[in-house]
Symmetry: D2
Subunit: 289 residues, 4 copies
């Protein structure tokens, strides 16, 4: 659900499953006069873990916004052994965009930005190619051209990391960025780097998935958006979709048709991330509705 001009707190929890969690957490909100507008929970039977997302209105809430976290920690987080996070809906997240030559995902995100579709800031675009510089700068977004070679990779990544800090980046979107990020970079942003891969994973990981799809003669092609982890194309999957293709489609057709799936899948994943709908557990995502 979207709510324009919402003033809410969003709590994400994961902890060992046990009786009374929902009651206790909702009571924490209730007794402080909070009105819950959305609650979703999930139990992972196999691992016995409990997950929840609760969103409540801050208007009239008895605890000051600045103190909510410390109060929650004391009353709930600590006694229930929770991993938890509280965010506020009126905070506008800062998203960094990384792009290479293929710009369809990237331009789709910029279009949403221009049309004010999402509550988001894009403080910076980084590319290993120069061709999108003018477009980006026309939108008054700083553009950093950081070409990558075997030799300069470590160095450039250090610069990228420094830029992430400088611009206080909350999360990163690889909008068809055709470089593999180093471990060091990835570990600085756990579950905060969103990638789009142009196949329905786990089929066709790595380079040139459309060529492999054509070769295999599949009747569907797809796209997968996932959080980036150390191992290529195996991170937690956030969103996937496919379209139907036929013998009539050349590799060029697959590439052309695939672009639309890629951009829609990526944008859906970002939307979920933006709205704090995602939890990660055992390399799998819980994506609330």
């Amino acid at each position: 659900m979207t709510h324009s001009n919402k003033n809410t707190a969003i709590l994400l929890i994961s902890c060992p499953d046990q009786k009374g969690i929902i009651t206790n957490v909702t009571n924490f909100i209730f007794k402080n006069q909070g009105n819950i507008i959305e609650l979703e929970q999930h139990v992972d039977k196999l691992s016995g873990k409990f997950f929840m997302r609760v969103e409540w209105e801050l208007n009239g809430f008895l605890i000051d916004k600045e103190k909510i976290k410390s109060e929650f920690y004391k009353e709930m987080g600590l006694p229930f052994h929770m991993e938890w996070d509280i965010n506020f809906s009126n905070y506008i997240p800062k998203m960094a965009l990384f792009v290479s030559k293929h710009a369809h995902c990237f331009l789709d995100l910029l279009a949403r930005y221009q049309a004010n579709e999402w509550p988001i800031h894009i403080p910076i675009v980084i590319s290993n190619h120069q061709e999108w510089q003018t477009i980006v700068e026309n939108l008054n977004i700083p553009f950093y051209y950081l070409p990558i070679s075997k030799e300069n990779k470590a160095e450039q990544e250090a610069i990228q990391l420094q830029l992430m800090e400088q611009y206080k980046i909350d999360f990163i979107v690889l909008a068809r960025y055709m470089q593999i990020l180093g471990s060091n970079f990835i570990h600085k942003f756990p579950n905060k780097i969103i990638n789009i891969h142009h196949s329905f994973l786990p089929a066709f990981p790595g380079a040139k998935p459309y060529h492999s799809a054509f070769e295999r003669g599949v009747k569907i092609i797809g796209a997968t958006s996932h959080y980036v982890t150390d191992e290529l194309d195996t991170g937690p999957i956030i969103e996937q979709d496919i379209i139907h293709v036929s013998h009539n489609d050349s590799i060029e057709d697959l590439i052309r048709k695939g672009k639309d799936v890629e951009k829609i899948v990526l944008s859906k994943a970002i939307w979920k991330h933006l709205n704090r709908k995602i939890l990660v557990h055992n390399n799998r995502t819980i994506v609330f509705t």
Copy 2:
């Protein structure tokens, strides 16, 4: 989520939205040692109504199964002005099937029955045609042939109603039953008669929707499952889906291809109904996941 051999209680609530409902209801379960395995809620902003479905394990629950309803009424239902219903997962619902000539939905349901796909009883099949009698009787299901004409309609419906009572039917599925039920019958089963209409409503209500779809030159055809109300094809929609078609498809092709959508859409609606996932409000459904 399916759980084989579950022993749970399922509570469905609707009431005016107010702070503390979730806390109070979950606390009722918690303090009686119930373990919640699923909770979903929804707030209708426009009408200010709150809806919830909670399912909890009965093993170890302190209130006797027979007394749960009366206890809940006293503690929750009454003070919170709730409409509510409690059902138990180990009860096997009794579904009556009505069918005419087109048997694809009907045979699909029988196939699921034979393969034990669903926890369900089919105590009776009613048809205004005789051709499916043998198939039904081979499955040891009583088959009632009740042909309908203008003249005998009221009379036959009285018999149908009497059969519903005799077989203690919980809900009715019109599996392409090409007769319009009378008001009297419908009012006896509010939100308990599931129909499948062979178009994406509200487009093409009434007779021969595939002919109308062909005529209009649409590029999709669909099916809609809904609860039956007095007005034809306008009841609360439970499930819809479509498939793509082209100029290449004749009316016969639309009819043939549509059958698969119809049967899948109908079966999804029944599954949701079976699992007590549906609430109805202002002619719209809340269908929990």
Copy 3:
């Protein structure tokens, strides 16, 4: 199929169905040394009409490009009473864009333009609002601000028509242009004005379809791209698609989610139009693959 750098002729035919058409037309191409790379045909049983699209390579074709039309007319068009059209793949069509406030379709088309996704020219953008002027002019596309009121409508449409002539526009895309074009304008561009309507027609024509969809409680929302005719939202449908929604989606959610369907459906329709894949007959389209 896409072919980069193709040099082909594309023939579109419609005529009364009769034996020998395919043989005669393909023989015309064969005896002049043309190599057919794609042939699709369709027979409308009800009206007894035959439709065909043939594409062949011009390299080595014995008839000069300039004379193909006159030769075809003499040998085929006239004796077989054909309506026909021949186009050449290396001609880049000129598309005019009309847009109002909602820019998602419009920006999506501009993004494709910037990324060189399609072989197309956009010589002009017309809007009744000023807000997209800078974006358009940054792409070096002339932008015409033509606000429409009851009083100036005829006058402004005369200007629009004059601009279409001046820029030698081949076809027009209404990318969520919220004005109804006059008959005079429409008749100048038969089957050459592509509109996107934000519902699965024939359901929810006219204004505010997402509001109506919400009100009705449908479980799918969709979009329809069609050629514009005199009667609102009833022209020949080119492309349709839908997405699933739930009780959880507010009207704002429907509008937000619908945007992605709208833009993909519109772009698919334009792609088919661009590639001369569409014939219109009795207010229905034949859209070759």
Copy 4:
């Protein structure tokens, strides 16, 4: 397109691409007074091969049905180095069904059979389990119980082969038959054994794909229908589809939901095969519309 009571010939061709094939083949039909009702062609650019399907009405065709093949061979097949096949629409193909325990695909096919959805004979059902015997025999179809063990496998397959001959089987459907057929059997029915695999291949081949899908945390599950070849789950793909799933779906849910995709995908593949719409080239299918 379906045509009830059609009396047509269906020609399938593959040969090296060369100018004039369409003209020559259609002229063969035209000069013998045949009326073409459907023609589709495809060129595989990479291998330079040409494929075509032509269907024409036999009423009034000058060549006797019995002589069409020999005449075609002489005039077309031989000079153009074609692989080709001619079939007649009024021939009802004989389909053998193999099934194990999971019966959803199998029962779906039987339901279509009972409802006369397809022009098909099912002369025999073979199973390595006994539980579907009564259902099959109620439909007056001979049922052969042939349990398979490591020891008796060769022997039982010899019996199966002999039964295929005895019942003059045209093609075989493995409706979730959980045994791997031997090479000898497979080579007797090239591109005539249709299997349904319960994943979107090439992801999750082999056993327990739903378990692997759950483990990987994918957001879609699917099914693939393909012709059986020597190597497991790598034959030419005919049809694929998927449905969306979520963290909320247990392995049991995936299995339950997957059943519907499996049966629809399998039935679509069979329909295409029945209507002689499929050609195989380099382990990929050409599936005409």
